[in-house]
Symmetry: C2
Subunit: 444 residues, 2 copies
């Protein structure tokens, strides 16, 4: 049986995904604003021949800066700095359709794609959180549905702009003095309920045509959006059954829209906590959990759950009367996942905080390299994943361990590439380069 290779994305965040990772002796607490930290992480990922690195983002400061390293450089800036010191690794940045204009953002991703030689990806988010809205002239968070409607049109405008130049519009004909063919560049004249954009874009069509389009929300609206637009989906799934159901559901939704289900790659998150022995891995996990300041974490949990911190005694289970998902206007799927995790495993608030401290709702897996490789293979073989979003608990050491100890096992099992076969992010993910809807046939 020929096995398909997995796709592996390294989700980078400060000193690691565990909220207490910055307190370990090895960690630089100022790494968040140190571009060399991220350049080094990307070099490690590229050494492992991973598909891509990825940064989450939201245009707001998250809560309490006491708790953990706060503030973050704008991701397209960091990825551009990474592009300059790497040659193959894909570069995926989150950016919001609610708080940007399509002309600016389509141009920025086209620019990153040019600068990186075709390695750009865009994780499309609609941005939950009233805090972000208040930074953009709004007093209320726009409703979930309204944000997704805007996002749909934002994508439509972006695609038109990326197609506003034919790939062969530039002629560079020095002899005749004609640089470009005006017939191969055209306005888009988009007029819709949210945007009126004349175009054309002021950047020639980029190496990949479009950046790889990524999506990470798992609500009903999010899944429909993914089925329409996404080429890769990052998702938080705690159990194999849930992950398989999600995988099948998104592929089905895409197929119903006439898309090839293989044109949507689904990557659940996994937070590996690695040790050379089970005891070493467990000790690292225990040390990290010991370093969580529970009062800080409880405040954050209370905010997510829309209750007062006083309603969450540390050694009791969650209160019975929490809001339903319908009442949540942002990050719906994350909310439900957290509540279901706590109820299913009857976790106390303190235990829940430990589990969330590792991966904010993503699946934490503590074990040896072989056990982590087994866990990855199991989900992949069971039809729950085309690849994984690797979220090391501690950075850089967790990424180094994954690349040097887990990746070789995946290779031995025929599950992962030995080297890059292409140069672009689309080639790494096995995704087609999009045709240009407007392009004229070249005269024979």
């Amino acid at each position: 049986m020929s096995r398909k290779h997995l796709h592996l994305n390294a989700f980078l965040m400060s000193t690691g995904h565990h909220e207490a990772s910055w307190r370990l002796p090895e960690s630089d607490p100022y790494a968040t604003t140190d571009v060399r930290h991220y350049q080094e992480l990307a070099r490690i990922a590229e050494r492992g021949k991973l598909d891509s690195v990825f940064f989450a983002d939201s245009p707001q400061l998250w809560g309490d800066i006491g708790r953990r390293p706060s503030g973050s450089l704008e991701p397209t800036v960091v990825l551009t700095a990474i592009a300059a010191v790497t040659t193959r690794i894909g570069l995926i940045a989150t950016a919001s359709t609610t708080y940007n204009e399509p002309y600016n953002l389509a141009r920025r991703f086209a620019s990153v794609d040019h600068v990186s030689g075709g390695r750009a990806g865009w994780n499309i988010v609609t941005t939950a959180g009233i805090e972000a809205a208040r930074n953009f002239n709004l007093d209320e968070l726009p409703a979930h549905r309204a944000r997704y409607e805007r996002a749909d049109e934002f994508l439509e405008v972006s695609r038109k702009l990326w197609d506003s130049w034919d790939d062969d519009a530039a002629l560079g004909d020095k002899a005749s003095g004609v640089w470009g063919d005006n017939d191969r560049v055209r306005p888009i004249d988009h007029r819709g309920p949210h945007f009126r954009v004349a175009g054309p874009l002021n950047v020639p069509r980029s190496p990949q045509g479009y950046p790889v389009l990524v999506q990470a929300g798992s609500s009903e609206d999010g899944r429909d959006f993914a089925a329409r637009h996404a080429e890769a989906v990052f998702t938080a799934q705690q159990t194999l059954d849930d992950a398989r159901a999600f995988y099948a559901d998104v592929k089905l939704r895409a197929a119903r829209l006439g898309r090839d289900p293989d044109s949507v790659r689904i990557l659940p998150g996994i937070v590996p906590v690695l040790g050379d022995t089970e005891a070493e891995a467990a000790a690292l996990e225990a040390e990290l959990d010991r370093l969580i300041v529970p009062e800080y974490a409880r405040d954050q949990l209370a905010k997510t759950l829309r209750v007062a911190p006083g309603d969450l005694p540390l050694d009791a289970e969650l209160p019975a009367d929490l809001p339903s998902e319908d009442e949540i206007e942002g990050a719906k799927s994350r909310y439900t996942l957290i509540v279901e995790l706590a109820r299913r495993e009857r976790l106390t608030v303190r235990q829940l905080i430990g589990r969330l401290g590792g991966g904010r709702g993503h699946r934490t897996f503590t074990g040896t390299p072989v056990q982590v490789a087994d866990a990855i293979e199991e989900w992949s073989a069971a039809g729950a994943a085309d690849g994984f979003n690797i979220m090391p608990a501690v950075l850089p050491s967790g990424l180094t361990s994954f690349v040097d100890k887990v990746v070789p096992i995946l290779r031995e099992r025929g599950l992962f590439r030995h080297d890059y076969e292409g140069t672009t992010l689309r080639e790494h993910y096995g995704l087609a380069r999009p045709a240009n809807r407007y392009a004229k046939a070249v005269a024979a």
Copy 2:
């Protein structure tokens, strides 16, 4: 007499500022989207110990792509790629206050400042041109005055955001588990006619505090804006008298607002066309002008002058009945400069096109390295300039010649640094690091 050193900025553009530069045998007609081209230019500028490199920008495609290399990468992306391969050269990008949101842009410049170790500068523009407006949901260009009012508030919001973190807000106290001091980060709660922004910014205060604030419009509104906000001013001036008057006027306006006139550096543009002999320089200029396609250039001139191309016969002077500056809603000072240049020197349209083809209204100076150094020294000694915006007609060769042949002469004359004395753009320009308006005194 102790002489102050000049400040030299390299204004980078594709294959050079002469519109026909791309047709020379040495030029790569695809350089515009090749980041290695710009990285190489920045290395040359850094080898010459220049203060900074700079990119102009507008979120629109400029007219006819037949005429010259068109489309341009987003400048903060290019400058970030440059930052990764240089260590000292300052990095100035144009960005529009009319077509951005302050939270996004303040964050992007803070991010570039972090990534570059304190080398970011922002050329603040309000963006003339209906074409840009039509890419941002507008059918009309907002009025000149209205754009400047928005720009004022945009700057106010940006400064507040850059000050929303104290320099010492991050504590990184691993032992106690307290990463940052919540009392040293605060919302800005800005509510004005154009913007409502809660803050704080989601990036810690950057190495320079603020990017160096640059301005380049010379209209009445533009000069007032420069006097209020700018730390460096780029300006197009054709004659020494005009340049001296402009210099004195902007310094006076700044002084009237209580600012130290030395805190505003004024840099007129100069397009050097260099040859080792006068004959060589003249031959290069003639070759470049021969390569202009006059019909393309006339179309552009007609657009600038708000007349039909048919109203501009190539071998006649400009028509007498052109609009007054008051009727122009964008790029007012550029319009007046072009009309005055043509009238003063009684240029035919063809001659005017040759002059504008070199520098789009900036002063073209053709000569030997000594003659260019003389021209620079003359304006500097006459109180017309604190430095110059160097706009090579051809890139990279024009920048290489300037750095290797003109800069050494300026050094011999005591007019330019032998090496960098600092690491930040503010240090290169001799500008103070801004204090934080909100910062608390640190407890003794």
